[in-house]
Symmetry: C2
């Protein structure tokens, strides 16, 4: 079973990023018009090759930064897709990540230039190869993440209302959370700080803006936020 390294087959290894953003009360996904064969012109996830001197995480960061202009993007591994025939263009092992970014902050010129486009997560075009399955897995991971950590930090603007946060959660879990119960749950976590400003966008009365407390990077003991 164990043989010298140099005798073994080598593989092309790629990363594919499921990039989530949030805009107009909708969870969105950044998709690419593929510019090489096979399946040129069709929609796909953002991807790239893994270089000899970098980890898959490094490769994913590099690709994300090159497309959005952002650094320190939140990102987590999802799964490896490695069926020998998954890519008709050749045998490619792909490591999938999901990333969360603030649509407002990213460099639109840059992503436009790459032929990238934001799509509502619920209304995606047909994707190449196994990319739809990748998206499904990524969304699943995002839900697991959001069930234990408040994910708004990466998707919402600095300052946001609890209604905005709830609508984000609605779109991640594709269900309606009770406004009163959601509010109580979130505030009990003690990770948000209320500001002395009010948003007049959502209602006539106006809703307080909140922001994430700087210190509270991680909850010491992860309480469940939503049940899945």
């Amino acid at each position: 079973m164990q043989q010298p390294y140099h005798l073994k087959a080598k593989h092309l290894v790629a990363i594919d990023d499921t990039v989530f953003g949030y805009e107009n009360n909708e969870l969105k996904l950044l998709l690419f018009k593929r510019n090489l064969e096979p399946a040129k012109g069709q929609w796909s996830l953002v991807g790239g090759w893994v270089d000899p001197d970098e980890s898959c995480e490094d490769a994913s960061c590099r690709v994300l930064t090159s497309i959005t202009g952002l650094k320190n993007i939140f990102m987590e591994q999802v799964k490896v897709f490695s069926k020998p025939d998954r890519d008709p263009g050749g045998r490619v092992i792909s490591v999938v990540f999901y990333a969360l970014i603030d649509i407002q902050k990213h460099n639109h010129q840059l992503s436009d230039q790459f032929g990238a486009q934001w799509w509502p997560a619920t209304k995606l075009p047909k994707l190449i190869f196994d990319h739809q399955e990748m998206v499904n897995c990524a969304l699943n991971n995002l839900q697991i993440k959001a069930s234990r950590d408040l994910v708004g930090r990466d998707l919402l603007p600095e300052e946001f209302t609890l209604t905005q946060l709830r609508q984000l959660y609605n779109s991640i879990f594709m269900k309606e959370f009770d406004p009163g119960n959601f509010r109580k749950k979130i505030l009990s976590l003690n990770t948000l700080q209320r500001l002395d400003k009010k948003s007049k966008n959502g209602s006539k009365k106006g809703a307080y803006f909140y922001k994430f407390k700087d210190d509270k990077e991680e909850l010491e003991f992860k309480e469940r936020i939503v049940n899945i």
Copy 2:
């Protein structure tokens, strides 16, 4: 960003299996004495190379079968480990799986012959490279799995008592579950079938044997078994 496939670097891709078993009320791990440099003679997970015509899952199955003699082993992906310097012997990207097997059923001659040995999960020797981190991730995945699915099917013998199942859960979660509450929870899932036999091993009174219902492969709507 996107270039023809043939211009890109290729990588050695391996799989490493965290093989869990259960024996004498202990969760155990199958470890290998490594028989090639570097780190020859040290303990490691069971591993193997990914061949050109197989998926990582295929490679993992192949390796597991070659060592245990068993087929259709339960197995799930854990994570990819890909730091460029993680293996001093060369740049190897490793896809980690965890597997659950019935220690009684596997072929001992075969695993002995490979230099494999079962270790209590709580008392592992020092492992090579990043294998301890792999084990930690795998155990974490096993806990997540066991919190939603009854995992005894793969780790326990066909027929087992509820006390055995509880002790398995105790060792997976490294805590003591209340006997009465655990029993009620498990029976409420309706996935076990009581047999008309009693085990006299654990107690004087004797405890009913149970087995997994054949039909209930999957619960339609996954209820939580334990909270994590």
